[in-house]
Symmetry: C2
Subunit: 325 residues, 2 copies
């Protein structure tokens, strides 16, 4: 009998799943499109059928320990998805209940960034850490915070919205309806906005002057920076400064052992890490100086499904620790 956890990673376009053992080995995997079905129930039916077929193909005796789901606005406390902006189904979606009805195993739900944090703890670079944070840098900025060895969920399961800490009161407009949120500066979109601000402010040449706003992406800015483009270099410096200041402040709240950067923007490497590290250290309270590691995520391509499966494996680890205590 092989014990596995099923990890499901729900994105706006595709839903990926993997059947993953406690060491992170993927025994089966697959995906379905997320939004072709009118009814959420039909989508769940399709997903569970696909998972079952994929399990049959392994030709093994499988014991499903549980199902972990990483979903936009997924709440651990209620097992639901709440008004996710990038899904077609509105309101409260009782995903844990629906999946549990079909598979009869524990189902745990959380958002993508929380899943990434648990993935880092079980399969990635945070394997011996009980207090750390993962910052996911994509279109926005997400965060998953682990304290005392478990996720910081908060009262209704929606803690860890570091991307919506207001770092510049009255600053850039944010999709959340407020102004000056960290993710308006530090994210793929934030990088674009900074490029355009700098192009407006300065006169010097830049390869980025030939690219329309809607065509520009963070990878192009990183490429330009590596070619020595001054606007691109200044953009990363500014992005790093904003993130470094914010992380120093968050550290005063949660005192992490390490902070992991995850996602497309983190691939810019030292272009981003160097200014973040410097500005964070310059702004840390003396209690934390030279103590907080800033590291790239160690999860690779399959981060989404590994993180979702880690929701189950982390609980198993807590239970076995308690039983042995």
């Amino acid at each position: 009998m092989t014990e596995i956890a099923i990890g499901i990673d729900i994105g706006g376009t595709n839903t990926a799943f993997g059947c993953i053992d406690s060491l992170g080995k993927i025994l089966a995997e697959g995906s379905i499109p997320t939004q072709t079905r009118h009814s959420f129930g039909d989508y769940i039916n399709d997903l569970v059928n696909e998972i079952k077929q994929s399990l049959n193909h392994t030709n093994k005796l499988i014991d499903i320990v549980g199902v972990g789901i990483g979903a936009p606005n997924g709440s651990y406390r209620t097992g639901t998805i709440e008004n996710a902006a990038n899904l077609r189904w509105r309101g409260t979606l009782p995903i844990a209940k629906l999946v549990n009805e079909k598979l009869a195993v524990p189902v745990k739900v959380t958002n993508d960034a929380n899943a990434a944090a648990l993935g880092e703890r079980i399969f990635g670079g945070a394997q011996n850490m009980s207090d750390f944070m993962v910052i996911t840098l994509g279109t926005g900025l997400g965060s998953g915070i682990v304290v005392n060895g478990d996720l910081l969920y908060g009262y209704e399961g929606f803690a860890g919205e570091v991307g919506h800490v207001i770092v510049r009161p009255g600053g850039r407009e944010c999709a959340c309806g407020r102004k000056g949120c960290l993710e308006t500066y530090v994210s793929a979109t934030g990088v674009k906005r900074t490029v355009y601000k700098l192009l407006a402010k300065h006169l010097g040449d830049s390869a980025l002057r030939d690219i329309p706003f809607n065509d520009l992406n963070a990878k192009m800015v990183a490429e330009a920076a590596k070619q020595g483009d001054l606007v691109a270099l200044e953009t990363f410096k500014y992005t790093g400064k904003m993130l470094g200041e914010a992380l120093a402040n968050v550290a005063s709240v949660t005192a992490p052992e390490a902070i992991f950067l995850f996602g497309g923007l983190a691939k810019a490497g030292n272009l981003l890490f160097d200014p973040v590290r410097k500005v964070m250290e310059d702004n840390l309270l003396f209690l934390y100086k030279d103590k907080i590691k800033l590291l790239p995520s160690q999860l690779g391509e399959n981060a989404g499904i590994l993180g979702a499966a880690a929701l189950i494996w982390n609980d198993e680890r807590i239970i076995s620790k308690l039983k042995s205590a």
Copy 2:
């Protein structure tokens, strides 16, 4: 046999202790001066002797479950006091070890604000809450954060320094050596600084113009505000705004069910609570709006020793919950 926890509250001037049962009843209490002894070991000897005498006077069969200590810069992880600015003994003081050698029971250490938070959970207004925060307003601003039913200690036990979140980069000088920390605006000292800033800026009459900086205290400002003094009223409005903005940001990290205000400044009541509540709500991310209670602490006079004893009783509660699971 009566089970008690000993709660010890170490202040710069006095060290208070109480022998407290699981319902918060104080069976014995006392205090000694904190800093008359040259050696830290002698101070601990005096303290333990005083506790033993006080226990003898109860004429009861006592079972000491443990000793909880609230101390400046007290670390839960190491059981030590680290470089406390207001104590005469420098360096690392192994207080848990020293007390354990004498009383042979578990000894837990944390800082005053963390102890206040556990006190609120066990004996105060947070008795059914697993995710909340206590802000202590004294000379500085301390914070104790409870998540998943236990204190957020952080990597080395020094999490929860909300008073040192930088809210105005380049702002007021802070005793920590940096600038713009929240406690330079929101604390008894912060209130004084705001009064003087406003007296410098405006021309209008104010009773506060007759008081030298070193004689002014937050209670006098509250009294003046109640008399309608415009500078005093504006001071509380500004203090509340700074705290409200900061709490809205911290909420994006920890998502608390409630925030309790504790300490001298909190006694100003609506003068402080009204602007904090309004500005916090105005600045909250939509996920948290109208969900976070802002409340006065429900711990009374004996908050210090109750909070320290709660370090032990909260662990007992976690253990019995785990055993029954």
